[in-house]
Each structure stands twice: as C-alpha cells, then as structure tokens.
C-alpha cells in the first residue's frame, strides 16, 4: 500500500516537474590548455526558446557544438533530449537540427540536390515531397534547380534552414544565423525562424545582436567567459534595461586576465 502511494505521489510530482530538453552540469571544454567553457550549467524545458547572448569569445559556438555532438565535452554532464551527448551521439543526431553561419551546403549541387542528399543521410521518407514543401516554405521553390553556389547569402541561409528541418527535429540549435545577412535577408530569415517556434520544438539561439535575439525567444541568457551569468524570462525584460544589463556583464567580465 505504501509503495502504491509512493508511486502515485512520485507520478504527481513528475507531472508538475517540467520536462527538461537540455540539462548541462559543470561543463568544461578546453582547447589545448585554454578553457572555452568553464563549469557551465544550463537547463531548458521542452518547447522553450532560449536566446543566449554573449560577446565574441564567450564560448557560445563551443556550447552549441557540444550540445549538438560536434565536439565532446572535456568535463561535465550534458544531456540533450534525455540523451547523453557522449554516449549516444548517433541517436541524438536524429533529433537535432543545426543552423549555423556556415550553411553546410554543397555549392555545386542544386538546392533540391542538396536537400535530397541530406534527406538520404537522415533516411527521410517521401523525400521529394518533403523537400518540395520545405523549399516552398523558405521561398526557394522557383530556384530549386539552380546551384546553391549561385544563391545569395540570404537564400543560402534559407536553404540551410530547409536542410536542418528535413528530418523534422524537435530540438534546434541556431548559431549566429544572421551573420552576413543584410536587413532584408535578416527579415526574411526571421519570418522563417518564427515558424519554427511552435511550442513543440525546443530552440537555442546564440547571437550577440540584442535586437534580433530578443525578437522571438521565451527566455534570455547571457554567457560571458564560458559561463552563464544571467538568465530571465523574456516577459520580465525591458529592452533598454536589458541592454544595460548586458553591457554591465560583458564589461565586468570580459577581461580574460582578471
């Protein structure tokens, strides 16, 4: 009887505890002797959109690379979607989509061929239909037979979004996706990214651009010198006050010799 009560109590407690998609504890990452991440802790609930701000060299890209299995952690525990990034990277890769300032696109293949190639790598079923639908969503259906190398930077980045969404990932990592885009292309990219934030998909965006980073997220964090130094929900943030907070943290902690 006691055990039944305990089990029921445990279930009720579990129901109130939000499901964590990302759980990072004491993450250190060294490149040689230089630490890029220094005991970083991070939790993100399922379906939430977190923007991580930070200056150049804060370790944002390193964080994304560790979370997305591109590099291994030096120390610490990293769980994404309930999967250990070190022990079961292969299975985790099926569930994540990565959009970076590098597009991962083959310039000598057409837009459609790029999607077909990555679709085959991910084992996507009904690949041609899926590719055509995504190309339509990112506004590239009319250019799908042109080589990706002939696309503008903005078009390449939109094709890169289609590539990242081919296998319908439930976790997205966006690493400075606006880099190198003009205002018009940034706006188009923002519209596409907005459609990703459905509430089902967990998204982590890194950027150093405050305006673009605050646009769609649920929560905001600031990363400086390989550590999270600030975390608040977007609802409690005033834009101008946040800018002040950001520069206070960056100014305070940005000296590596301190």
């Amino acid at each position: 009887m006691t055990s039944t009560l305990e089990t029921r109590g445990q279930r009720e407690a579990d129901a109130t505890v939000p499901e964590l998609t990302i759980r990072v504890r004491g993450l250190w990452k060294y490149f040689g002797h230089v630490p890029a991440l220094r005991g970083l802790d991070l939790e993100l609930e399922k379906g939430r959109f977190l923007t991580v701000f930070g200056p150049n060299g804060a370790g944002k890209t390193t964080l994304i690379k560790v979370l997305s299995t591109q590099i291994g952690p030096s120390e610490g525990e990293v769980m994404v979607g309930g999967i250990d990034v070190v022990r079961d990277a292969h299975h985790l890769r099926r569930r994540i989509g990565v959009i970076s300032h590098n597009t991962y696109l083959y310039p000598n293949l057409t837009g459609l061929e790029n999607l077909r190639f990555y679709g085959r790598m991910y084992g996507v079923s009904h690949l041609d239909d899926r590719a055509a639908r995504l190309l339509e969503e990112v506004g590239l259906l009319g250019r799908m037979d042109d080589r990706a190398g002939t696309y503008s930077r903005g078009m390449q980045q939109r094709l890169s979004i289609a590539r990242a969404l081919l296998h319908e990932p439930d976790i997205m990592f966006l690493d400075e996706p606006y880099t190198g885009l003009d205002q018009h292309a940034s706006r188009m990219l923002r519209d596409v990214l907005e459609t990703l934030h459905t509430g089902e998909r967990t998204i982590l965006l890194t950027t150093h651009n405050i305006d673009q980073g605050l646009e769609m997220c649920d929560e905001v964090a600031i990363q400086v010198r390989g550590r999270m130094v600030y975390r608040e929900p977007i609802t409690s943030i005033d834009r101008s006050a946040f800018e002040q907070t950001y520069f206070e943290h960056v100014g305070k902690d940005y000296r590596w010799d301190s």
């Binding site: 997305s68 299995t69 591109q70 590099i71 291994g72 292969h90 299975h91 890769r93 099926r94 994540i96 990565v98 970076s100 590098n102 597009t103 991962y104 696109l105 083959y106 310039p107 000598n108 293949l109 061929e113 190639f117 990555y118 085959r120 790598m121 991910y122 084992g123 080589r147 390449q156 590539r163």
Partner: protein
C-alpha cells in the same frame, strides 16, 4: 536507406560535383600527362633498359596525379563547413569513409586508365591486347591507393600545409602498392602471362583488404575533434 546506399549517396554527390566543375579529374589527367611526357623526353628510344623503366614512369604518373585528386577530396568538404554537416548526420562514420573512398576510387580508376592511354601513345606500347590484365592491375592499385589516401586526406584536411603533409604521409605507406603495380604491369607489358605476376597481385590484394578494413575501423577517430 542502408549502409551501402548512404555511402553511394556520398560518392554520387562527389561525382555530380565533379561532372559540373571538372576540377579534380582534369587536373589529375593534365599532371599525369605531363609526368609521362617529361619522362619521355629523358628516355632515349631503343634504350636497352627501356622496358625496365616504363612501368616505373607509368606508376610515378599514377601516384603523383592521384595525390592531386586526394587533396581535393576532403578539401571540397571544407567549403561551407560541409564536413561538419556530414558529421552531424545520424550515420556511422564508416558510411562517410566508404562514400568518400568510392568517389576517390572511381576518379582514380578513370585517371589510371586514361594515363595508360597517354602512356600507350607516347611510348608506342600496344595496350589494347593486354587491356584486361592491365585493367585488373589498375583496379587493385586504385583500391589500395584510395583506401589509404581517403584516410590520410581526412587526417590532413584541417592542416594548412595539407598538400605536403598528405604526400609525406602517403608515399611511404604506398610503397608496397607502387612496387607491386610496377612489377606486375612490367610482366604484362613484356608480353608474359599475368600468372607470372601472381605474387605481386596477391600482395596488392592483401594490402587492399588490410588497409580498407583498418581505414574503415579507424576513420571514426580521424574525423573526431
């Protein structure tokens, strides 16, 4: 999609890219042609040792031209950081290795056969009657060359001086294949039966099996961070 079909997708992607740019095969062929031509100037017609020298010239051209292709193999994956995109795919690393190996093997065989053609014209050697045994030697040599070359190409891709590093790494390891290929093609070009080169063919076969297996098993460690 299975192991082989995903590997083929990678090779196919490389072939399509090459058909559009013709960067790799054309430079390999041009270099192979130049090596054969330069050696041709240095060897006097009617030289007594001519038949001993010819196979060496042929395989020197094959190796030098082949390295040009290998240098391009993973360097092309660095554009737009495509190698990272490939590594993010939920496929075994051996799928990626096999795909790149297949692409390199196809380019190398194609280059090898055309280099033989140049050789035949410039050295006045009739290779048509021996096309099958010579084809077999090219295939065996290309398997070993591509197996080791693909692994070392991946290993050196992040290094600025990768062209030099690849050559330095590859030449010592390729010695058994070059030696066996030169000896066995020498037998064929002399008009003797291929069976006389059985030992050299066997050496190439064993080399191919060992290095293809070892490369498949170690590629994971090579492309890790």
């Amino acid at each position: 999609m299975g192991f082989l079909s995903q590997s083929w997708a990678i090779a196919r992607k490389d072939i399509i890219g090459e058909l559009r740019t013709r960067e790799t095969v054309v430079s390999m062929l041009l270099f192979g042609f130049l090596v054969i031509l330069v050696f041709n100037f240095g060897i006097e017609p009617g030289l007594r040792e001519e038949n001993l020298v010819k196979p060496g010239v042929l395989w020197a051209a094959f190796i030098f031209a082949g390295i040009l292709g290998l240098n391009r193999s993973f360097a092309a994956e660095k554009e737009n950081d495509c190698l990272q995109g490939l590594l993010l795919c939920p496929v075994d690393r051996s799928v990626i290795y096999l795909g790149k190996f297949l692409g390199n093997f196809i380019f190398t065989v194609l280059m090898g056969l055309i280099v033989f053609l140049f050789f035949s014209v410039l050295y006045n050697v009739d290779i048509v009657r021996d096309i099958l045994p010579l084809g077999l030697i090219v295939v065996l040599a290309a398997v070993g060359f591509s197996a080791v070359g693909t692994l070392f190409s991946a290993l050196s891709v992040g290094i600025k001086t990768r062209d030099v590093i690849l050559s330095i790494l590859l030449f010592p390891v390729m010695v058994p294949v070059v030696l066996a290929a030169a000896k066995s093609s020498g037998v064929v070009l002399d008009g003797r039966p291929l069976g006389e080169a059985g030992l050299w063919l066997g050496l190439m076969l064993v080399y191919d099996v060992i290095f293809l297996t070892v490369s498949l098993m170690t590629f994971d460690y090579v492309v890790e961070e």
